[in-house]
């Protein structure tokens, strides 16, 4: 599609669509990543998991160039995202679609216009064609009938499906899902899992799913990474992850309350504080 034509981007002969090399990122004095290495295979569904607060969302923002690391490289198809100018970065982002946690639909536009938004902004397609594309995408997520509803009238699951249709509108190479299952009932959750799978199978795009729902992800993803302590703690298929030796991975995959990630937030001695 014409959208994907970018002059500076040559396709290298690598299986990884994203390569993260020795990335260091800290906010103030708190190091979030210290020497993160990770590569995301092309054409697969990759899960990125980890306990809350390990910087999963930060990792997505690094990949999409919303923030820049202090050190290290982030290669998207061989192009270093951290060194791009704003203009080139915007050009690159047209090849990515991102699904935000709450959908992030534009509240002043209805469902149809939300899905049409990237098309209207980036293309000069005739109205009839835009209508055609939008209705196709909405049909794919089962919400063609909701085209004229406003975002405020949608349930959480519906909003996320509309956001998925919007992310698909420009046919990206990479789709990123930030916590797509959070706060959904089991039916909506099942729908999203099915949709992610379907989109993936039908279009052969690369997907990255960030979440901590190990159960859902094991049905969905081909490979997974578990991030803890600013590094990749484990990687591989889900059966490999379940049998991983690392204690933190064991705690995370099996959902144990205590382990390397303690139940208690660091605090002074309990008795001393009570008796003081």
């Amino acid at each position: 599609m014409a959208l994907a034509q970018e002059p500076h981007i040559a396709l290298p002969e690598t299986a990884a669509i994203i390569e993260i090399r020795d990335v260091h990122y800290s906010v103030g004095n708190r190091a979030i990543f210290s020497g993160l290495n990770l590569s995301i295979p092309r054409g697969r569904i990759t899960a990125i998991m980890g306990p809350s607060g390990t910087g999963k969302t930060t990792l997505l923002r690094l990949i999409t160039g919303q923030i820049k690391p202090q050190r290290g490289q982030i290669l998207f198809d061989g192009v270093d995202v951290t060194r791009l100018s704003v203009r080139d970065l915007y050009a690159l982002r047209r090849r990515m679609g991102m699904l935000f946690q709450n959908g992030a639909l534009l509240t002043d536009l209805d469902v149809f216009e939300n899905v049409a938004f990237p098309l209207r902004e980036h293309t000069k397609l005739p109205e009839a064609l835009i209508r055609h594309i939008v209705l196709t995408k909405l049909q794919a997520v089962g919400l063609r009938g909701a085209a004229r509803l406003m975002p405020a009238e949608l349930s959480g699951g519906m909003a996320r499906r509309v956001a998925l249709a919007r992310a698909m509108a420009t046919d990206p190479d990479l789709l990123i899902y930030d916590e797509p299952f959070t706060g959904l009932d089991p039916i909506s959750m099942g729908m999203i899992v099915r949709l992610v799978r379907q989109m993936h199978n039908a279009l052969g795009i690369t997907s990255i799913v960030v979440s901590h729902d190990v159960e859902e992800l094991s049905q969905l993803a081909d490979v997974g990474f578990i991030i803890a302590g600013g590094k990749v703690a484990a990687q591989g298929t889900f059966s490999q992850l379940k049998n991983a030796e690392s204690e933190i991975v064991h705690q995370f995959v099996n959902g144990l309350a205590d382990g390397p990630v303690p139940f208690h937030y660091p605090a002074p001695d309990y008795y001393e504080q009570l008796l003081a």
Binding site: Q66, Y90, F100, A104, L106, T107, P118, E121, A163, T170
Partner: protein, 255 residues
Amino acid sequence: MTLLRELLDSLRSFVATVGAVALFFVRVLGQIPRALLRPGLIVEQVYNAGALSLVIIMTCGLFVGMVLGLQGYDLLQRFGSEDALGTGSALALIKELGPVVTALLFAGRAGTALASEIGLMRATDQLAAMEMMAVDPFRRVVAPRFLGGCIAVPLLTMIFISIGIFGVQLIGVQQLGVDAAAFWSQMRASVDVSDVMEGVIKGCVFGVACSLIAVYEGYTATPTAEGVGRATTRTVVISAVLTLLLDYMLTAAML
């Protein structure tokens, strides 16, 4: 010593904020040519900021005019020169009351709406989603709203002045019995084009200032319920103070 240090600190943060607003202004100006290519978006914002403020502007204009009629008549009849009511109140409205009161009302009605809208767009990731769709929020969100405000305020000012003069006439001529011919002819004889230009220039400057403050506060708001609330409050306070300060400076420059 601590007092001095605190003073210096607040002075430094004030200068830093002024610098940040200036950089923001430059960024908005940079996006204006591209925003102008989408006039539909600007028209929508002129409607939001201007047309939706019409009721409050017209109501207030009428009351300000009526008060001016009463007070002006009371003052002038002490010197037996009620006929000068038209001139005096028209000059007061055109040069001062129209632009200033319109700007204050605009900040309260439209500025707050702009700031909270943009702040909530940030809080609900809508701006981040736009950036991810390779759409610059400055071009798509900030610039059209800024331009909409800049266009709306001078227009609202003119409407305020017209309604205000009608209000003066309503009280002065219809009720208190000032001679209608003297009222209008004196007004036409002594209000100059340069007086009207002063009002127009003030309206334009206040429009730029109030719109800039509103979009800046909204865009830089902390993305929480409290942060958006604070940004809304700051929009009104800063706009009001800045309007009055600029009013003094402009008056001094143009007299």
